[in-house]
Symmetry: D2
């Protein structure tokens, strides 16, 4: 009985957060504010689910979820950021990237989809790139969804067993566990080198999906800080959502 | 108790349909098939909810939901179909239009957002346009979601009362009821003149959301007809989903 | 001495035509008129040179010359007209296509770059496509530049000998003479099947470059018919510029 | 007689340079090199004419001259660089910008088309932006065409008198002379703050059109440095083409 009640309570809290998001979006649209949220994390870290809750009640005409397929030959020839720049928010829009330009520091690095030089160029340039778009008036929120090896295994196994989730299973999942430590090393390098004043990384512990989603919404509300929305919603739980600063300072740790 | 069971049963049926959709999409991706589904209907007819169920388990990287904002000055100067053409599916993609080029025959006609000449040009050209994209290899599915005046009123009232649905309430909703008969006339004219061999209209009675959604999924499965998917799912209910032919022949009626 | 005088005279006439074009463009920009001119013809038929004279004095910001490279994989997957539609003129713009969607009925047919089904679909659809964009307010001018086998040979030989023209020499030029009759057959089929009320073909005899260029400009002026421009310039020479109707009716012939 | 001979000689030199450019482009296309050339300068400084000579013999399908119209509302809402990024060269392409992102530091500053904050953000960001695209593999050539007040006056007067040049006359020309010193101040500030390692400014004295054009071509050849092209062409004349470094160091001066 209590588990069911928990679920009900969680749903109620989620809905309150979504109300606050709705009011916040109405306010940003009126202000012409541009919002860019990007979610990164290993396979099965919970990006899709978080995005679903985040965007569920938002305006379909002013909210764009961008999940780009692997680069075409044209994209490979172009400036790395080009196809992402093309989709940046204009006045009053929210854009949510389901994986982003950081592919170059994650999957591409571990899988060798680009050259070490390209990866180095990327990581060197990304703070400048983000600072620029932020100075141009975009509110940028960068979320790293951090999952444990064990939880990932369970979710990947679960996906393979669930016929509704077949399209979530990709060839790359196969190696997600085998290359666990490579991905950890890539993550550490990426976070360390791309955490900067205008684009701080926010880490989210995602082993509990419910908590992760709820706290992501709380964090977004906190950043956007609409004067008449979400005043009553709780602040993000510091055990679930924390700045990468705290990892640097040793007060928090990411999955090994 | 039975209502709760009904809900559970409905959810089970929905999930079975989604499994079939997943298998169908895997198959279309392997084939390079291009799928274009467009949903039209009055405010609150259930487009968003149907799209949610339809796309819930599909590939985020190969499925695009397009909900264009009102035309910019540039769009107004361009060929009407231009911004839609820009988003048509390429090989292996599914594109779902949440409202479409038919705006010109619906909201624009009733609200006077374009000239009668532009509207006439549109309705005259649309069968040719659609025939062309179909001959180019796109599978086109056109759905008209038909709601009753009473049900619309309830849903619009409900939206206004629900703070999570504030972003669904638009200025245009205000007149949806007042201009009910104008919208009916526009619908009749639109369906009649744009129902053609390569782009037949499929009507969906949407006063029951659950039935409407379920039957839309069934219809899509039926059209795409993947040899190894959905064999066991039921055919669309002919009282919920029917060709506009049946309306012409007097065997079915749309809301007055 | 007389040859030099001829040249001077020709230059003077060209300049007068360009003045009329300038006035015409100012007028179309003020009117918001959309102009689309496409030039087709065999290699070395004189497309580039004609476009140069046509656009030389036009507004660099409102005139776009489109010379698309061979289709990418993405383009191949998409609707054939898609990448051309993307560049159609908006209000006040002139777009000049240096080769166009007709590639599918010309080089692609002769060289086998697409399937016979794709070619058939194209030629069947193109009148509808063009009628649509014309009804949407675009002024469409379709020019077929007709060169003789002998003159083509000379120009191709000349190109190969001229180091400034190296980039004009393409692999396809090599076969232009060998496949002369295939290209003639493709041309005849193309003109016959795509000459229609809203998109008539205008043929231009281009063995004399000077005459061809001059008469193309005269023709464009005649079609656009600006009330205060070009009143004094001569009408196109009927031996150089003529409607494909005249070929059908046997009063004119194209190169064999 | 000698003037005529001069002209002939100049034409001969120009043609030799164009041959070298052709060979250079063939080589960059084979290498997949990406070339981006931008021309800035006051009205009538000679941008159009230089671009004409530069691109005259280049591949129409791999060379793009970009002359963007004034920003639309959408552009105004977007990141300033966005519409330019969209047109950056991909593999094997040459892109020539006729005016560029530097509008924000020139005409927009003098005419007040954007806010001082936007202008400050731009000038602060532009070195980072350019460094990034250069590190991504683009060869960037930035040319400042410097004209004297007297020569500009003559050219503007000449334009107004020449009916073929009517489309070159813009409302902004009217104030080019009146605001001469404002434009000079904007230029000095722009060059000083955006001259950097990866994007050095090259100044071109343009009071002599013939010399300016010739030397621009020589400079482009020098930068691209194709091993088998232009070996025999002269180096740029240091009185016509010089790095902004020389201005900083007081060895050269720009027009007051
Ligand atoms: N060959 C490749 N080169 C570059 N990127 C790739 C390649 N294959 C896949 N990717 C990218 O890797 C990321 C992860 O892929 P995948 O796990 O299949 O997708 P998802 O994030 O939807 O689960 C995606 O952003 C995808 O675009
Ligand atoms: N001024 C306008 N001109 C043309 N189309 C408009 C205008 N205002 C709204 N629309 C279009 O009308 C349709 C219905 O609008 P609305 O009811 O606000 O959106 P939704 O379908 O998301 O509920 C949308 O496709 C919108 O783009
Ligand atoms: N493999 C191909 N598939 C389809 N079209 C092609 C292919 N190769 C060349 N083309 C097209 O054929 C046309 C003629 O090519 P070419 O003679 O090289 O160009 P140009 O017209 O500039 O002389 C161009 O429009 C080009 O895009
Ligand atoms: N209102 C404006 N806002 C911003 N840029 C402008 C505006 N008007 C003209 N421009 C730009 O100023 C430059 C010079 O304009 P013109 O001299 O008209 O070619 C061009 O790049 C124009 O795009």
């Amino acid at each position: 009985m209590s588990k069911k009640n928990d679920k009900k309570e969680a749903q109620k809290r989620l809905e309150a957060l979504q109300v606050a998001l709705v009011d916040t979006q109405i306010w940003t649209m009126a202000n012409g504010q541009k919002v860019c949220i990007l979610l990164e994390g290993r396979d099965a870290a919970g990006k899709d689910g978080a995005i679903k809750r985040l965007t569920e009640c938002l305006s379909v005409r002013n909210t764009h979820v961008i999940a780009l397929p692997k680069p075409t030959d044209f994209d490979r020839g172009a400036w790395w950021f080009q196809r992402y720049v093309n989709r940046l928010p204009s006045t009053g829009e929210w854009v949510v990237y389901n994986r982003s330009w950081y592919n170059r520091a994650g999957v591409e690095k571990v899988m060798g989809f680009s050259t070490p030089e390209q990866q180095e160029t990327f990581i060197r340039d990304v703070p400048d790139f983000e600072s620029m778009i932020v100075r141009s008036g975009i509110t940028l929120i960068k979320l790293w969804l951090d999952i444990s090896m064990k939880e990932q295994k369970e979710r990947l196994d679960d996906r393979r067993a669930d016929p509704r989730k077949k399209l979530k299973v990709s060839d790359l999942d196969q190696v997600a566990q085998d290359r666990w430590t490579d991905y950890s090393a890539a993550r550490d390098d990426m976070l360390r080198r791309s955490h900067h004043e205008h684009g701080p990384w926010i880490c989210v512990a995602t082993d509990s999906k419910v908590k992760a989603r709820e706290n992501i919404l709380r964090h977004v509300l906190k950043v956007l800080d609409c004067p008449h929305a979400g005043r009553e919603v709780a602040a993000p739980d510091p055990d679930i959502v924390f700045s990468y600063d705290e990892v640097i300072e040793g007060r928090k740790t990411l999955e090994p």
